[in-house]
Symmetry: C2
Subunit: 431 residues, 2 copies
């Protein structure tokens, strides 16, 4: 007999269900077992006198044991769970669970130690249903627009952009490093004439940070595309891609998110275009409105506090959760961003709910100009392997990257420790 | 004006095209420029007398420079490339290329040194169009069947299955390792009740192998699913998924593959079910048919030569490029495979065109039995972090893994050095 998912059970039908024991009341004459699978929960009711053969297995059952049960689905208004119960005629125990070492309200570190148990709740499973929908929407959006998926190497020969924050590994008789981003390689794909590429893959940062948004390994979603006219084309693609993705998430999980994470995290499908402000405009407004000031020397980039304040600002000014920020100071941006004739970097950050989720830009694709920019930052030799990509012809191009885990955090108001399947931090390498 | 891809150009229309200079004949009165973008090639014809303003840019142009050209598409039967040429009225040089350091017939190591140039040919670009279609088909197939995508950590605290062949890295004040496979974590997701998961991500192998199919980093496509009745369910899903994928590739790129790689690599959409033989049956047949013998002590697993011979065998016996192999000796399979009552591992290999592409199995999900199996291989303490996943309830489950690069190799008859975007081997860490 084929298994039926709990959400699909129809009263009056014979069913086979499989799942974890969510709840168990084993009385003298009756047993009530709640079974949970990935779609829902249902009560199984046993009148022991009618099924003495089932009693030994019920007595062996523990919370979170895995069982397969065949029986008849019956409508019963007294049953709280959806008004249906299963009257079983067979029970098979697939796996008996030891007493669980954590509870729903255990400390986060214990929950991470036993992450596979922590992930069993409906609330936590939703995190990964949402993440699946997010990446599937991104890919679908991009594949329809002619993007190729590529896989760039994570083991690299030279510590790229900067030597800091890079993990070093033994590589046979030498050393190698773990890639901090596919930035250089997605640009290489442009020099190869691939025109449009994306990658969804792990990135590694050897940062000893203990904030709620830092991890030493996370999943990056990166893309790059050719023949743009300016970085505004990159912003346009990003707002379309995010709007599409959020629309899909809202449709599929909007109600679940409110039910399990609260009204505060209701999914708001953005309206396009997203508002755009320069860094200077933002500092003007948040000084005027909220009395927030920083020294002139800090005004080339947004401080973390200023970043957070943009949530309120974008809401007040534009009723938007998103805000594009442009016109950063050149000394606060990477050397590979293109500059306009006044030296202004042709790039942007995108802030969602007061947290930066993207940096993007048009890249400098002209070999001589790029070498000059690198030299100006004192990076000439360090990035020579990269500047070579631009010596033999390269289209104008731009792109951006998004953190899959960071977007997940912001959707649900959780920390990165919960947004990752298995968090990795300076003090966390297990399980 | 919007850019038109070359493949979409219609005679009689005004177009803007962008791409690389594929060919250039700059004569005294005329210039013929062939432009290549990701969709095709087209000739641009300039009568210099009519457009003296274009001459300086044409004189600056070199092979593989990137240009944007606006003009009118004109039907012309004398033009070999599709009978269309562009009569331009503007030319913009986006990027001037230096003289190219490699040619189509350069040695593989030079081509890898300048991989971004090597990838520009139609033949090499097809590799990644095919790979994109492959992974997109897999994901689409699995998402329709309720699989969740997950991202397991690549930095791990303990050298898993075996200490050999694992890259070691400095992790702040300690050490860590790079994951050789998501095996343990995809099973962990089963213990979490995720029921069905897949992952497409890099895997790392510190093997000093120099064959045409080994790399130190490659892209793995892994999946695992719960509530199976036997490993035959895993085989069934795999044959359906591969058949779906190959059908899509055949439809989209079948003609291109034959045109660029030859008749030998014509895509053959398999018919289901794939044939199944035991290891013993294969040795019987290849001894009888091809006189190939190995000592009795080798007969628990297929030798590399035996594996290759199965291509001929599966063709002769079943007219199939695929062959499932079952009934390996227990001492040649990992401890986590389930055994039947006779100790036979409940798993399989899948061979395509004489090369193994998958190992799969039903896993041992019962905690006590799993610990016994690990102990029997002398692995008790080493895998304790993993056996813990099964102590608190776990559904029966199974799965398999595929190498994206290896499948690409077999589709096109190329080596792994060409099938990867950027190959990584013991002597190759750049670019």
């Amino acid at each position: 007999m084929e298994r039926t998912h709990i959400a699909n059970i129809v009263p009056g039908s014979r069913v086979k269900i499989s799942g974890f024991v969510e709840n168990l009341r084993n009385k003298r004459t009756m047993a009530f077992i709640v079974i949970r699978d990935i779609t829902g929960k249902i009560q199984v009711t046993v009148v022991k006198e009618e099924h003495p053969d089932l009693v030994p297995d019920i007595d062996r059952m523990t919370l979170d044991s895995v069982v397969t049960i065949e029986g008849t689905a019956v409508a019963n208004d007294y049953v709280k769970l959806g008004g249906i119960e299963i009257i079983p005629d067979s029970i098979r125990i697939e796996s008996v669970a030891d007493a669980l070492p954590i509870k729903d309200d255990s400390a986060i570190d214990s929950r991470l130690d036993y992450r596979w148990i922590d992930l069993r709740s409906e609330k936590n499973t939703l995190i990964f249903k949402l993440q699946t929908e997010m990446t599937a929407s991104f890919r679908e959006f991009l594949l329809e627009r002619g993007f190729l998926e590529f896989h760039s190497p994570k083991i690299i020969g030279a510590a790229s952009e900067s030597g800091a924050d890079v993990f070093k590994l033994s590589y046979f008789d030498g050393v190698a490093y773990l890639a901090q981003s596919p930035q250089f390689y997605k640009q290489m794909a442009m020099a190869s004439g691939f025109e449009r590429v994306f990658e969804c893959a792990p990135v590694f940062r050897a940062e000893k940070s203990y904030t709620r948004k830092h991890a030493t390994e996370f999943t990056g979603f990166d893309l790059e595309f050719s023949y743009i006219d300016s970085f505004r084309d990159v912003m346009k693609l990003e707002e379309e891609m995010l709007t599409y993705m959020i629309g899909r998430v809202a449709e599929k999980f909007g109600d679940d998110i409110v039910r399990l994470y609260g009204e505060e995290y209701r999914v708001v499908v953005p309206t396009k275009p997203f508002p755009v402000m320069t860094v200077a405009q933002i500092y003007d407004e948040i000084e005027k409105r909220y009395g927030y000031t920083v020294p002139e020397s800090e005004k080339g980039d947004l401080t973390t506090d200023a970043e957070h304040l943009t949530y309120r600002l974008a809401k007040e000014l534009y009723d938007s959760e998103f805000l594009f920020v442009t016109d950063f100071a050149a000394d606060r941006r990477p050397f590979y961003h293109m500059h306009d004739e006044n030296g202004v970097p042709q790039g942007f950050d995108l802030i969602w709910r007061g947290t930066e989720i993207t940096s993007g830009s048009q890249r400098e694709h002209r070999y001589e100009q790029l070498c000059e920019n690198a030299a100006a930052k004192g990076l000439g030799e360090d990035v020579k392997f990269y500047t070579e990509f631009f010596r033999y012809g390269c289209p104008p191009h731009g792109g951006f990257g998004l953190g899959v885990d960071r977007l997940t955090m912001l959707f649900l108001g959780i920390s990165i420790k919960e947004a990752e399947f298995l968090f990795r931090g300076p003090d966390r390498l297990t399980p």
